[in-house]
Symmetry: C2
Subunit: 245 residues, 2 copies
């Protein structure tokens, strides 16, 4: 069915402000692994409401300039970190009459994974106060603005859950990495040890990484460096990683 005259007329007379609509925003958990822990980026709110409180970065959709919701998320990420091509995943949407003191409000939560070598970039981008904080610390003894604690929890649980059966942590290590470094990243997120042999079999059999030809040299036997293969997205395993009992 195509547009007829009555539809054209309807659209001409349509005015958004005739309706009560919720506020709609995007909030993100930007994760990285630094200093041996999973950390999340927080900003200190520079405006009302919740002025001065720590919060997840986010903001309203820019109706004039954002073509899509994903674009809004990417824009926010770039504003805070300077990072352009992260792993970005939509997690869930939270909406209620009470989560924002201003109005009925809806927020779409995303998480982004950026590797620790990208995070230099963030410093000079914005004048806001911005910090990296270990997720565990935030979950246990921080108080974030609005329901951001709850949102962060949802993002963290999604991440932790997916690490059981995907190769997501590849996006948290630098472009070239050793298997031991990758395993350590898995262990940090899972909060448990992973068995070396089965980990290596799993990753190698998945056929998602390739040797760079280079080696990482240190104070002992050098290790092969790998990179992500086609830059294709994530691999899904058919079994969960279990780890030693």
């Amino acid at each position: 069915m195509t547009q007829d005259n009555s539809e054209i007329e309807y659209l001409q007379n349509y005015n958004v402000h005739d309706y009560q609509v919720p506020l709609t925003s995007v909030d993100m958990s930007i994760f990285t692994v630094r200093e041996g822990t999973l950390q999340v980026l927080l900003v200190k709110r520079a405006e009302h409401p919740a002025l001065g409180q720590w919060a997840l970065p986010g903001g309203f959709i820019d109706i004039e300039n954002d073509p899509t919701l994903d674009y809004t998320a990417k824009r926010k990420l770039k504003e805070k970190t300077g990072v352009d091509t992260p792993y970005l995943e939509q997690v869930a949407t939270f909406g209620s009459a009470t989560r924002d003191p201003r109005h009925w409000s809806v927020t779409v939560a995303y998480f982004a994974l950026i590797n620790s070598s990208s995070i230099q970039l963030k410093k000079s981008v914005s004048s806001e106060e911005v910090v990296w904080v270990p997720v565990k610390e935030v979950v246990n003894n921080y108080s974030l603005a609005f329901d951001h604690q709850h949102i962060l929890n949802a993002c963290y649980q999604r991440l932790q859950g997916k690490v059981q059966y995907t190769s997501l942590p590849i996006h948290l290590v630098p472009d070239s990495f050793t298997l031991t470094e990758l395993q350590a990243t898995f262990e940090i997120i899972l909060e448990k040890k992973v068995e070396k042999k089965s980990f290596r079999r799993r990753i190698l059999d998945a056929n998602i990484i390739e040797e760079t030809g280079e080696m990482r040299v240190g104070s002992s036997r050098p290790a092969k460096l790998y990179r992500l293969k086609n830059d294709s997205s994530s691999h899904y395993f058919t079994r969960n990683i279990e780890g030693p009992r």
Copy 2:
């Protein structure tokens, strides 16, 4: 940090209509298994825009009366089907400048699973035209309003994906069911045969159902009837179901 005077003042002067906000709605894929296929409920749009086209049931958040987004979804479901306590899961949120001709628009997609014995109820609830259509048919040769085809696809893929490692189809069979009936439901969604013995082991070992004590009698050996155990949510298996090669 608690509210100070400047925050109170800010909130008093706040007016939603000073800002450009997107329209925000909820759309749902309501699934059931009927006549041996997975079907989805469609409504014929009775209003502009896309008047007369088939669409997923959904609508705007009722700012005055809906406390949460989930409530909006439940309300819509009840309006269309009369069903009160379905399995309801949020799938994803789609937002762009172009998906609705009226305005920048955001929609939160849910799917609901209801069992085939509940669907009597739907008839008299609303005067709108409402139909059950096999999902495969819609995906292949229907044209739905807005981006609803795309939304349906996302819901369908989420469902199909989760059936590999959860017990979701329990919500698509009547309150008491035989293992063979449950297996058939899995097979319909997965679009492949499932091996009888391993299916039964898997479900029984998960400890999520219990015998009712009754039997389903037919034209051959009667089968034990089971019910969902604690009404607890879904079980997650650590391995995907594979099915015969």
